[in-house]
């Protein structure tokens, strides 16, 4: 296998190298890629959308259709991890509880789960106590991380970032809690059902804005037509439309990151996690 | 000659397909068989209603749909097709009657399936008869192959499975492996597949290619059982007797031969065949089959197997006749389609009746049976006369024309083949009849309690035998159709 691999790789590499000979030089400003469509975006994007970050403008408006499916891909991944790994809760499983004050572990064999109380906490068999410092620091850190995530989403028009990066950061904050505490805490804050509904709502927001444009008489994702209900001019409407879809992307990406993490780290049982 | 647009050919084809749901849904056997009869009658009437039009020298055409540009699924009723359709439609009624007697008499299983596929097979047969181009012919040819598979393997035992396998291997293998490419090459060369009175290949290909195509077609239509693609026919004898009758006399083999005749006259055209000297090759292939099949038939003890080999031989008469490329020879060949059908079906009916009444399959066990089953064996005698080609039966007429054809074409070798094989067929049929009626003293094998089979099994062979005789004295309708067909293909 290794020999075959090597041969294929060398062959493909040789082909690739051979074909670079007709490329324009690296960084050549006069190359076709640098002039044909790029010029249009760089010169027109700001007047048409009033978004200084051209990447955001192209991403969410000119090629907004791509980005919608990009969000769709993320959504697929979340759903995919869910369908592949999630195990349905089996009723007659043994469960373990820990008395918070004393640290005594209870092993309950029956299917019945006692009411949730502050005195007992559900644990797995392989349970190790969490470090208090890590726990506290992470809990304090999480809101700041989330704030930063929101900033990245909102400020995508003017600086690097946008819905996708912001969403990842938001998701990461929840993952941080899940790692530092345990996953039940994280799920207690944002339940599986909420995550899944958020996942759908985010992309629905994106495609819904697109569909709304059709209802308002424009083409799909033609944010300019939103000007009628936003009471602004077309350029501002585009800018706001971009913000709207970025928020949608952010929500979905956050929810998907959490879903993937939850399912991967708990092997689909959504118990305590790592 | 006029061309009349009419949907009648399509209806004639579809009648028996339309009746299939009725057959499936009918719970009562009587009603089911009633529908079969009704469909058979309607079909015959439809076919006969077109007969006067054809006899007036006209053609009926109907285009169903254009499958491939330039090649439609299209029906055309001409004299040759009419001849074949008449034979098939009229024999279906008789076979239906016989089937009822046979299947009920032996209490066969899955009778509904039997009738359904019987009806489908008949649709396909009429479809072949009326097809206007090679594509339509191929379509119905394949449909027939598939529809007869459940019939051949009706018993669903090991033997049937082996036979079915052989049947399909030969029939589908050759049609896909040989006919399909040949057909496509024809289409590629000329852009059409429409049968023309003088063929459509003329001028489109050289001698070598034409020769290859010819061989592909003759062997490709393996239903005609030209040697060496005849193996399926004796194997298929495991089927119930009415099926064998259908296979041999009405549908399958006749369709094969009919297709070859169509190809020779409608695709190649007699002129092209003559120009390339292909007549002799065709005749030679046919002659080998005739002689070898007759010799094998001589050595058979199982009656149905013997009939099968006899059929293989007789079919090649038809090909031989057309291969002579002389008007009389072609006339003889085409007439033989009808004459052989009536003669051979009689023989099969008789074989079935004997099996029903006595349970015997082998000739050696039938000594003295003529005394017990005089009607059946009488019919058998007439049928065998027709196959041998002796008066006063229809078989004589066709053979007479074949002989005239060889003289006309000045092919003495093939004259000898014809005469020789007639002698051979006499040699394998006459002992059966002789021993049935005149057993050596004290060797009669049947007790008194053996009598005739049920009336539904005895009447059909008697009727067909009678028709065979009638055809000797009054071959007019068939003769007129055939001579029209010959005139149409411009046989001088």
């Amino acid at each position: 296998m290794k020999a075959i691999g090597l041969i294929i790789v060398v062959l493909a590499g040789a082909l690739l190298l051979y074909s670079t000979q007709d490329f324009p030089f690296w960084g050549d400003p006069a190359s076709p890629a640098g002039t044909h469509t790029a010029t249009y975006y760089l010169t027109k994007a700001f007047e048409e959308t009033s978004v200084p970050n051209v990447v955001t403008a192209v991403l969410a408006d000119y090629r907004g259709f791509d980005t919608m499916f990009e969000t769709g891909v993320i959504f697929c991944a979340g759903l995919g991890c869910f369908v592949l790994l999630r195990l349905s809760r089996s009723r007659d499983e043994d469960s373990y509880y820990r008395h918070v004050a004393t640290g005594i572990t209870l092993h309950i064999k029956s299917a019945k789960i006692p009411d949730v109380s502050s005195e007992f906490e559900r644990i797995d068999t392989l349970w190790t106590p969490y470090d208090l410092i890590v726990k506290t620091v992470c809990r304090l850190l999480a809101p700041f991380v989330q704030l930063f995530g929101l900033y990245v989403i909102a400020h995508g028009h003017h600086s690097p970032g946008g819905g996708f990066q912001g969403g990842v950061i938001l998701g990461a904050s929840v993952i941080l809690i899940a790692i530092s505490h345990n996953m039940r805490t994280a799920i207690g804050r944002i339940s599986e059902k909420t995550i899944h509904i958020l996942m759908a709502v985010g992309v629905l927001l994106y495609s819904g804005i697109g569909a709304l444009c059709i209802l308002l008489g424009g083409n799909f994702l033609d944010y300019a037509s939103l000007s009628r209900i936003l009471f602004t001019n077309e350029i501002e409407a585009r800018s706001l439309g971009i913000l709207g879809v970025e928020v949608g992307v952010g929500i979905t990406v956050m929810a998907v990151m959490i879903t993937i993490y939850n399912n991967l780290s708990s092997d689909g049982r959504l118990d305590e996690g790592l | 000659m006029e061309t009349i647009q009419s949907i009648k050919p399509l209806i004639a084809v579809l009648v028996s397909i339309c009746v299939v749901p009725l057959l499936v849904l009918c719970k009562k056997p009587n009603l089911r068989e009633g529908w079969t009869f009704a469909a058979a009658a309607v079909k015959l009437l439809l076919v006969l209603s077109m007969l006067p039009v054809i006899l007036n020298g006209n053609q009926i055409v109907y285009t169903l749909v254009e499958g491939v540009p330039g090649v439609a699924i299209k029906f055309r009723v001409d004299a040759l097709g009419m001849l074949f359709a008449c034979v098939a439609a009229s024999l279906w009624i008789i076979t239906s009657a016989y089937s009822i007697g046979y299947m009920r008499g032996l209490k066969e299983h899955s009778q509904t399936r039997y009738y359904v596929f019987f009806a489908l097979a008949l649709s396909a047969t009429i479809g072949v008869a009326f097809s206007a181009n090679l594509l339509t012919l191929y379509l119905f040819y394949e449909m027939l192959s598939l529809a007869t598979y459940p019939l051949v393997t009706h018993h669903q035992d090991r033997e049937a499975r082996a036979a079915g396998r052989k049947y399909l291997t030969y029939i589908l293998g050759t049609s896909i492996g040989l006919v399909l490419p040949a057909m496509l090459v024809c289409y590629h060369l000329t852009g059409t597949l429409e049968f023309a009175s003088q063929g459509f290949l003329a001028g489109a290909c050289n001698r070598g290619l034409a020769g290859v195509l010819l061989v592909f077609f003759i062997f490709g239509f393996a239903k005609a059982a030209v040697m060496p693609f005849h193996g399926w026919l004796p194997a298929a004898m495991v089927a119930p007797t009415p099926v064998s009758a259908l296979l041999h006399a009405v549908a399958v083999v006749t369709v094969g031969v009919f297709s070859i005749v169509r190809i020779l006259t409608g695709v190649f055209g007699t002129e092209l065949l003559g120009q390339f000297d292909f007549g002799v090759i065709i005749c030679a292939i046919a002659s080998v089959t005739i002689i070898v099949a007759s010799l094998i038939a001589l050595s058979q003890d199982n009656l149905k197997r013997m009939l099968a080999f006899s059929t293989i031989g007789q079919l090649s008469y038809i090909i031989l006749g057309v291969g002579l490329l002389s008007p009389k020879g072609i006339t003889g060949g085409m007439l033989h389609i009808a004459m052989h059908a009536f003669g051979k079906i009689t023989l099969f009916f008789c074989a079935g009746a004997i099996f029903m009444a006595t349970g015997k399959r082998n000739i050696s066990e039938m000594v003295g049976i003529g005394r017990r089953m005089p009607w059946t064996m009488g019919a058998f005698f007439v049928g065998s006369l027709s196959i041998i080609g002796l008066p006063p039966t229809g078989g004589f007429i066709s053979k007479w024309y074949l002989v005239l054809g060889t003289l006309e074409a000045n092919q003495m070798t093939f004259l000898l083949v014809l005469l020789g094989s007639s002698l051979l067929s006499a040699a394998y049929f006459m002992p059966v009849v002789y021993r049935a009626f005149f057993p050596p003293p004290g060797k009669a094998m049947f007790e008194n309690k053996v009598g005739e089979a049920p009336i539904l099994c005895v009447a059909p062979p008697v009727i067909t035998a009678f028709i065979s005789v009638v055809l000797f004295f009054y071959p007019e309708p068939f003769f007129r159709l055939v001579s029209m067909a010959v005139r149409f293909i411009g046989g001088n």
């Binding site: 090597l6 790789v9 890629a33 010169t43 980005t67 592949l84 690097p160 | -």
Partner: protein, 129 residues
């Protein structure tokens, strides 16, 4: 000779990119561990992203966020880097992380059944079934 050197140096980025690609592809074909294959796949994907980003490069240009006020009075496109490859690659990164997630999920599912991630061991188990 100098021609060749110019060609070599002028496109070194593409060259190294190709080498990276081949490392990824080799890992995918030759490695036995499923996770290693997966990593190889990811390297392959990132190298393609690198390739695209290299296409977008422009000597002497800055990042494609317009300076304050620059948008209002005509933009000189040679001053800014081509934004389109970046847009495309954002999408590609998302695709690659999605694929990565699903692949890990599948790998865990495989591990659940076979208790190993080595391809040859899994094949052996399947064959003995």
């Amino acid at each position: 000779m100098s021609d060749l050197v110019v060609t070599l140096l002028g496109k070194y980025n593409y060259w190294l990119c190709v080498i990276l690609m081949m490392i990824g592809l080799y890992a995918m074909i030759a490695k036995n561990n499923l996770i290693k294959k997966l990593v190889g796949m990811n390297i392959f994907q990132t190298s393609i992203i690198l390739f695209y980003v290299s296409i977008g490069c422009k000597k002497g240009a800055t990042i494609s966020i317009l300076e304050h006020g620059a948008g209002h009075h005509g933009v000189d496109p040679t001053h800014y880097i081509n934004p389109l490859p970046h847009v495309l690659m954002l999408t590609a990164i998302v695709v690659s992380v999605s694929t990565f997630g699903v692949a890990l999920a599948l790998a865990i599912k495989v591990y659940r059944k076979h208790k190993t991630l080595e391809e040859d061991e899994i094949l052996m188990q399947l064959r003995s079934e």
